[in-house]
Amino acid sequence: MIAALLAPFSIAAGASACGTCGVGDPTLTIVGFAQPKSQRVRASGTVRHRNDRIGQAQVDELRLAEQRMELAGAYSPTDRWTLSLMMPLVHRLVSAVNLAEADIWAPGDLEFRARAVVWRDRKFAPRHLVSLIGGLEFPTSSIERDAEGVPLPLEFQAGTGSWDPIAGASYTMFSDPWSVYVSSIGIFPTKGTADTKVGTSLRQTVLGQFQPWRFLAFQLGAEFRIDQPGYVAGVRDPNTGGHITYGTFGLVGLPHDKVLLHFTAAVPMIQRLDGSHVEGLALTAGLVYEI
């Protein structure tokens, strides 16, 4: 398996391309949105911060502050395929109402994704791309427990600890200086270690981008997520499941031909999460490097 995972990086030896000019379109795109370009390799580092609250305030509430550092590599063997690997390192500070704290550093779940462009209006500088996405999350995270040995709530785990297939589709439209990205992704967790079963999660993203200058673009969008409930040892975790919609605002900058920076703030707009569960502001900042 390791050899298979390493293969794209070996094949990509010597690949070099300009982040925006190689595909005939000047749109700034972060990994996953772009028209694939044969032999293109991109590496990215992303930091995500989020807050989460579970339980009743002043009674049994647990607060989570999480920073997720993701290191990823993406390789396009042809101008229709992109393969990517992403590994998160997760830092979590879990605070209980009695001021007890658990400060945890742990690896999350390694994620492999393959994206295939199944339809485009033209090969060079396409204006419309339709892609299918498939992938798998590997159970590289472990189940975290509190001081009493009780597993933390599913929402507070670094990963699902299970083999989770991913399937979805996306559509991208380029019309300089505008672009639109729409995707629909499903994650289908299997039974994890420690007898956990995270529910199926469906995630929809709609993103509009305006790029008034070559080096800077603005993004505005919405992310919708709906989750099935999770189970621990066959018992439903009451604070899992439901749906949430975020409004997102982002910036994408190109300080150098090979370096792309991006920043996104996601604000919860509609929360219909089950149980006592409130998600807070989520911030994402990242760097993409064209190798």
């Binding site: 109402v97 009695n98 007890a100 190798i291």
Partner: protein, 242 residues
Amino acid sequence: MRFSLLIAAMLLSMALLPNCMRVSDGIEVDVAYKPAAMPAAVRTDLGYRVRLERAMIAIGRVELIRCDNFVLDLWNFVTAARAKAHEFSSPTSLGVPLVIDLMESAGVPLFAGTLRPPPGRYCGIRVIGMPADQDAEGLTDENLDMTRNSVVVAGRVEDEAGEDQTALLAQIWEILACEMRFDRPLVFDGPVVESVSIRIDHTKWFDGIDFALQNSTAVQQRIIENVRSSLQAVLPNVEDGL
């Protein structure tokens, strides 16, 4: 090529990173029951001598009471009266049912559990006596009747002269909510470990009862009142740290 391999190696090595966890305890309150030492016979305030053969109490829940939240306390009190043991535990309540054999455990502290309350001022503690769950700690084949009763007392009563003996049997099925005030408020504003002992003085359970004149219903009612008043919450002495 070198750069690509470096990224791949970093990705895979991240997956092999060990977990690192640092846990700091917050506010903790250890709760223990401390039954009074049991003499061979209890002399009541009206002069009767009670020779106990059985004295058992089943406790379903223990809750800390905030000083400054009368409405919440009232709501908790109402909901507690409807609750069943093992229903839930929270940072300010322990829902772990326990059957205490007062004849066996006299003078021996029984650890009830640890409460993990949020910061605040706490002025007392509430103990809910109620019939035990099937999986209550201390429940045995010999005391299965505690699944139907909160308190069971059995023995013999002698009059003051020691001439007349009558059998005593009280089986109380009612839910008994006993609220006790601390002699000083517990003020929590940072991580700390505190302890509370709940003394059970069952030698007072028969005070005020005239066994010769009162019928069994009146005796049982008086025992219920005495059980409530026999519980006392004791904080460790601040000076000696006990």
